[in-house]
């Protein structure tokens, strides 16, 4: 996770302190609050605010954003907040595809980490040409990306066929590529470690000269826009939900469930290809067994934190993406607290458990009952006073 740090310090640093946002109108405050309370966004928003407040109280410099030259001398933005959006880009992009697959298939794809390795490996294989460590790109990157895309879309199609046609549960079906994926990735480059020295190759995981914002952030924003447009101008969202909730009745309404499931896996495949590009671009090489390790677990976590039912059905990509950034915010916070990188997962687990317990229906009911009791008591007390 800590690849590609830019530790440059600049004398003319700027401090940006986030102003707490206030509700626009105090009139329908109660309605907004009530809507919020039942919204899917509640948990990720609350979690994010809690973490931000923790950082604010603990160390306000967490929010510092600097502007200055990086290791290659370009003027860029740096700081923890930027890091979150930079390092969290892959996770957020994956969360998009994972949410769709979850919604339509009622299960998760656990092979994404392995298929990112495949995508990365395929991209490297194309751009390195016949040499192992060329100084310049042997083939255009776009070709590499397309081949990588094709490779993981094929993987997505494989998963999709098993899930949609053979009706195997997604988790089980993707277990196959989970086991084989990294082996296939290694096989693509005959287990060698290519190293691309061409600086343009590093643009996609680092900075494009002249642009002060890290490229993964830009890529992730493009992905969000694209998926927002897709959901706005096609009926994919409705169909995916419908198939996820009741496949039989969707079919009788003229939807082709097999095709919808297949499409969601292909979309996830494209997300994976983009992640693969960012990953290999970040370090200009690849480590087959550790690249994007456990990212599938984080992606599923993001979907769950976003309040989406893992059993399929209604979904919110916004909430999932927010969930992904919550995870990244947590990770970054822990890094700044000098927590050992291997031990971070333990803290992550505690936060996750707290969040899911709070959002559990049983616990919510308990809260509601408590609230009623409290208000009754208050009312009684009020009467006594009167």
């Amino acid at each position: 996770m800590e690849e590609n740090k830019t530790p440059e310090i600049n004398p003319e640093e700027k401090k940006v302190v986030q102003a707490p946002s206030k509700p626009a109108k105090s009139l329908d405050w109660k309605a907004i609050f009530g809507k919020m309370l039942h919204s899917q966004m509640l948990i990720p928003v609350v979690a994010m605010l809690a973490l931000l407040i923790f950082n604010l109280v603990n160390d306000p410099s967490f929010f510092a954003i600097k502007y200055g030259p990086n290791s290659v001398g370009d003027n860029v933005f740096t700081g923890n907040l930027i890091t979150i959006f930079d390092k969290g880009a892959e996770l957020a992009i994956l969360a998009i595809g994972m949410t769709l697959v979850t919604a339509a298939c009622g299960g998760q794809d656990i092979s994404v980490g392995a298929t990112i390795a495949i995508a990365g490996s395929a991209i490297l294989r194309v751009v390195r040409g016949s040499e192992i460590s060329p100084d310049t790109l042997q083939n255009p990157l776009i070709l590499g990306f397309l081949v990588g895309c094709l490779a993981v879309i094929a993987c997505g199609a494989f998963n999709g066929i098993l899930v949609a046609y053979f009706k195997i549960q997604p988790m089980v079906a993707t277990l196959i590529l989970f086991t084989a994926g990294r082996s296939i990735a290694a096989w693509i480059n005959q287990n060698q470690l290519p190293n691309i020295k061409d600086p343009t190759f590093g643009y996609y995981g680092g900075f494009i000269p002249g642009v002060p914002i890290a490229t993964p952030i830009i890529i992730s924003i493009i992905c969000f826009i694209v998926i927002a447009l897709v959901l706005r101008f096609t009926t994919l969202g409705l169909y995916a939900q419908s198939v996820g909730i009741n496949e039989q009745s969707s079919r009788l309404n003229g939807i082709n469930p097999t095709l919808i499931k297949f499409i969601t896996f292909v979309i996830l495949g494209i997300c994976v290809a983009v992640c693969g590009l960012i990953k290999v671009s970040r370090i200009s090489t690849i480590n087959y067994s550790s690249v994007a390790k456990d990212i599938e677990m984080d992606a599923i976590l993001a979907v769950a934190l976003g309040g989406n039912a893992l059993g399929g059905g209604k979904f919110s990509i916004k909430a999932s993406v927010l969930g992904a950034y919550v995870i990244q915010l947590l990770t970054t916070t822990l890094y700044t607290k000098k927590v050992n990188s291997a031990a971070i997962s333990a803290y992550k687990a505690i936060v996750v458990i707290i969040l899911v317990v709070i959002s559990a229906p049983v616990v919510r009911e308990l809260f509601a009952k408590l609230k009623v009791k409290l208000s009754k008591k208050m009312a009684r007390a009020g009467k006594k006073v009167a």
Binding site: Q108, L162, F166, K167, I168, Q169, M171, V172, A173, L175, I176, L177, F178, T179, A180, G181, R182, S183, I184, A186, W187, N191, M297, I300, L301, A304, L310, G311, N340, A342, A343, I344, S345, A346, Y347, K348, A349, I350, V352, I353, V356, V357, A360, P361, V362, V363
Partner: protein, 349 residues
């Protein structure tokens, strides 16, 4: 005429067979075919009993974990924390024995406690708070892996007299040995862990097959709502499945430790997925309600045999093992899916 009569009798029998026994049959048949294939194409090595016993020696922890996994899967859940728990227990045992100079007994207690604690907490969250098992045990996995490095960050070998004794003790199985090139008779031996694993398999089999509580796990996995209406305590059953799975992960952690004699944060990496794969190959369905411990035993054996075959075929690259396991998993899944589809059609008409 006679032939077709026999055929229809078989058809009838298959039709009335439970899903569990049907899938078990497939698993055993494929395993036997695979082992025969190994003997024919890979030669004498596989004919030796010791080769077979070594599969057990090296994978007793996986076998124990898989039994727990099967139980949870039969109940309709999943537990992906088991690999982490195995790593945590073996690391804790290592610390207790080496750095704290404790006794073997203390180490066992620690192992059981850790396993049980994970089982109870996860079981409570899943069963009584209704949180999805995948998320709960995913957090459990993160927690266990993180705790392992917090307990001790670097891998290390344990120096402990009692442990070495226990670690090196073998049980001789009479009659299965062989005579080597120099004409010396070599006994077939198994480790203590194998005995533990086989006891676990036996106990779990009895639990699931011959006790009323055991059948409740199937009922809950088959249809949770119905099970509730039939008077099964669904929440307690789900809770118990996680508790038993956690406990078995703890036991497996100790057995694993006994086999390797060291603690390391990278121990048992990916064991949860191997356990799931073994259960699936053994005919347990992730949808719940279908599965069998004997199947799981054969699932583990199949999985490990294929690794042996790959290794002895000279494809020593670690990469090949991943690909072959995946191919086998794929094969099994497709066979299961097709068989169930055909069967459904048969009952319909």
């Amino acid at each position: 005429m006679k032939n077709s009569k026999a055929l229809s009798a078989v058809k009838d029998k298959v039709q009335k067979m439970s899903d569990t026994s049907l899938l078990l049959t497939i698993t055993i048949v494929v395993f036997v075919l695979m082992y025969l294939g190994a003997i024919i194409f890979e030669g004498e090595g596989f004919l030796k009993a010791q080769t077979f016993l070594d599969i057990l020696n090296n994978n007793s922890a996986l076998l124990i974990v898989s039994c727990g996994m099967s139980l949870v899967m039969i109940t309709g859940g999943i537990d992906i924390s088991v690999g982490g728990v195995v790593a945590l227990t073996s690391m804790s045992c290592a610390v207790v024995l080496d750095l704290k100079n404790g006794s073997i007994f203390e180490a066992i207690l620690v192992a059981l406690f850790i396993g049980l604690a994970f089982g109870v907490v996860q079981g409570y969250l899943v069963a009584y708070l209704g949180i999805q098992p995948f998320i709960v045990t995913l957090a459990g996995m993160f927690f266990a892996r993180g705790m392992t490095t917090i307990v001790h960050a670097k891998p290390f070998n344990v120096v402990h007299e009692g442990l070495n004794k226990l670690k090196d003790s073998r049980i001789v199985i009479p009659g299965l040995g062989y005579t080597n090139k120099h004409g010396k008779y070599i006994d077939a031996k198994i480790e203590i862990g194998v005995v533990v694993a086989l006891v676990v398999v036996f106990v779990m089999f009895i639990l699931l097959r011959w006790t009323k509580k055991g059948r409740h796990f199937y009922a809950v996995g088959g249809n949770r709502q119905s099970a509730l209406m039939l008077g099964v305590n669904v929440k307690r059953t789900v809770f118990l499945s996680h508790v038993v799975c956690g406990l078995l992960a703890g036991i497996a952690g100790f057995v694993f430790f006994l086999h390797v004699g060291s603690g390391s944060p990278s121990h048992a990496q990916g064991m949860e997925m191997n356990a799931i794969a073994s259960s699936i190959i053994g005919g347990t369905m992730l949808t719940g309600g279908v599965g069998n411990i004997i199947g799981t035993l054969f699932g583990v054996l199949s999985l490990c045999t294929i690794q042996n075959i790959v290794a002895s075929a000279g494809l020593d690259d670690a990469w090949w093992i991943g690909i072959t396991i995946a191919a086998m998993l794929c094969l099994f899944l497709v066979i299961q899916s097709v068989v169930m589809k055909v069967r459904k059609k048969m009952t319909k008409s």
